[in-house]
């Protein structure tokens, strides 16, 4: 029993070390991406198009909806306690600090995380990865790095986009309930906004982007011999992506605000 537990622990530790080494290699190759003679630049552009541009519609919809819901709830409750102005602080806390990066991360996990894990898994099964090796192209620098950079950059850009639309959406709804000048609205928002709000939002976006892309790429390359492994790694990429993002969110929030 103890021997079995020891073996399981040793295997889990080995997997952790391997994953850590893979992440370090990915970061090292990413740093070299611009310096190398690259045929992978087009892959990066395609990844940005898929992850950032094609997700703009759904991100706009979610953020507008979220901003609207916060305003409707806030305006109906807060004035009863004489705290009507608190709506701006709540908007910033919920959209910029917390839900902006987190909901953007969830959208990217659902769209790009699964797509990357599935695509790379299929490439392993059909020996396309071996074909890249056979012509001298390093699959990490050609396939993994553009996806890693593409998802991470997209995550940061989409978080900014989410924040903008979330705050703009709340303004639009405010016009129906309690009309206010656009200038006054944003002045009130800026008066409660701190540098820490912006930095923590962007830091979260950056960390989430790294975690989502790393998990998806790692799981995709983990496929070995059978197509039945592909849905399994896609599920793992999603599950681990969610868990890691929520853990990282909690850690960054604690560091910044406690």
């Amino acid at each position: 029993m103890i021997a079995k537990l020891g073996k399981q622990f040793s295997e889990a530790f080995g997997r952790f070390l391997y994953a850590a080494g893979f992440l370090l290699n990915l970061i090292k190759e990413s740093a070299l991406f611009l310096r190398r003679r690259q045929v992978g630049f087009r892959v990066l552009v395609m990844q940005l198009l898929f992850t950032a541009v094609e997700a703009m519609g759904i991100i706009a919809l979610i953020s507008l909806g979220l901003g609207a819901v916060i305003v409707v709830q806030g305006i109906s409750i807060l004035p009863k306690f004489g705290q009507g102005k608190l709506i701006y602080t709540i908007l910033l806390i919920v959209i910029t600090r917390e839900l902006g990066p987190l909901l953007t991360a969830f959208v990217i996990i659902a769209r790009s995380g699964t797509a990357i894990a599935t695509e790379l898994g299929n490439m392993v099964i059909s020996h396309e990865i071996e074909a890249y090796v056979s012509v001298g192209i390093n699959p990490i620098s050609y396939l993994a790095v553009p996806r890693f950079l593409g998802v991470t950059i997209s995550m940061v850009l989409l978080t900014i986009y989410f924040n903008f639309f979330g705050l703009f959406g709340s303004y639009v709804v405010t016009q129906f309930i309690n009309p206010i000048q656009l200038q006054d609205y944003f002045q009130n928002l800026l008066s409660v906004m701190t540098v820490a709000d912006i930095v923590s939002s962007l830091l979260k976006a950056l960390v989430f982007g790294i975690l989502i892309s790393f998990t998806a790429i790692y799981q995709g390359f983990n496929v070995r011999v059978s197509t039945t492994e592909i849905p399994q790694v896609a599920i793992k990429a999603v599950g681990q992506g969610f868990v890691l993002c929520i853990l990282a969110d909690a850690v960054i929030t604690l560091i910044y605000y406690v």
Binding site: N122, H127, E128, V133, S134, G136
Partner: protein, 260 residues
């Protein structure tokens, strides 16, 4: 006999299965080698290990006496530029067009080559195979045989001096096969070393000077064809008969077929 690639006590384990078991073999340079054995005997794995696509779990692979695992980045790139690998299942990049499949190795190794030069090279390769109309198609739009032809063309697009072929002939129609065999013969005549996993007696007789026989991941025989002919090893004779049975009749001496 000058050694081009040498496997020393190489073992490769895939999942729970041992694909190569303590295999040692010398693949000579400036000659062509056919690797034969029953299905599942580790032929493809041997080829991929020799081509430095899959690293061995234990043992060493030497290229001109140098450990392939310890080559510098520059030496490894040079090896890739001067070698080509045709996969048994074609392994074309599914999200790229046929043109892109053939252009990528050139763009990677020769980034300064102009698009016009690259296109000329690709058209020159595709034209004899009647595949010029397929330039903008994805591999899924081609038949299995056509995909294998494109995989072969990708392997030779950089004009390699070492060519690895994994079961190149099955599922290719007769007309295209003749053209491909003609190209392989041309490469051999120009001094290209060809290392082929094959069950095809015709291809073996056409290109091979050297024969490697595998069984259960172990090297059973590795010698010049003339020596294999004289081999008294019943197991070798049995495997050759079994492997080439589709090409031979029962009363044909299978080893004569290799000398046709």
């Amino acid at each position: 006999m000058e050694s081009l690639i040498e496997l020393q006590r190489v073992t490769v384990q895939a999942q729970e299965h041992i694909s190569l078991d303590n295999a040692s073999v010398v693949i000579p340079g400036n000659r062509s080698t056919a690797i034969m054995g029953p299905s599942g005997s580790g032929k493809s794995m041997l080829l991929k290990v020799a081509a430095a696509i899959i690293p061995p779990d234990s043992g060493r692979v030497l290229l001109h006496g140098k450990n392939l695992q310890r080559l510098s980045q520059r030496e490894l790139l040079e090896f890739r530029r001067t070698s080509g690998f045709m996969f048994q299942d074609a392994a074309l990049w599914a999200n790229k067009t046929i043109f892109e499949n053939l252009a990528l190795p050139i763009q990677f190794h020769f980034p300064n080559r102009s698009p016009e030069e690259i296109e000329r090279r690709i058209r020159k390769l595709l034209q004899p195979m009647n595949l010029l109309d397929s330039l903008k198609l994805r591999p899924a739009a081609l038949s299995e045989g056509e995909q294998k032809i494109v995989s072969f063309l990708r392997a030779i697009v950089l004009e390699p001096v070492i060519l690895f072929l994994d079961e190149p002939t099955p599922s290719i129609d007769h007309q295209l096969l003749e053209k491909m065999l003609g190209m392989i013969r041309g490469l051999k005549d120009r001094g290209c070393t060809i290392i082929a996993v094959t069950h095809d007696a015709h291809l073996t007789s056409m290109i091979a000077n050297h024969l490697v026989i595998l069984k259960g991941g172990r090297i059973l025989e590795a010698a010049d064809i003339s020596e294999v002919r004289r081999s008294a090893n019943r197991e070798v004779i049995e495997i050759l008969t079994q492997v080439l049975s589709e090409a031979a009749t029962y009363d044909t001496d299978i080893l004569d077929l290799l000398q046709e």
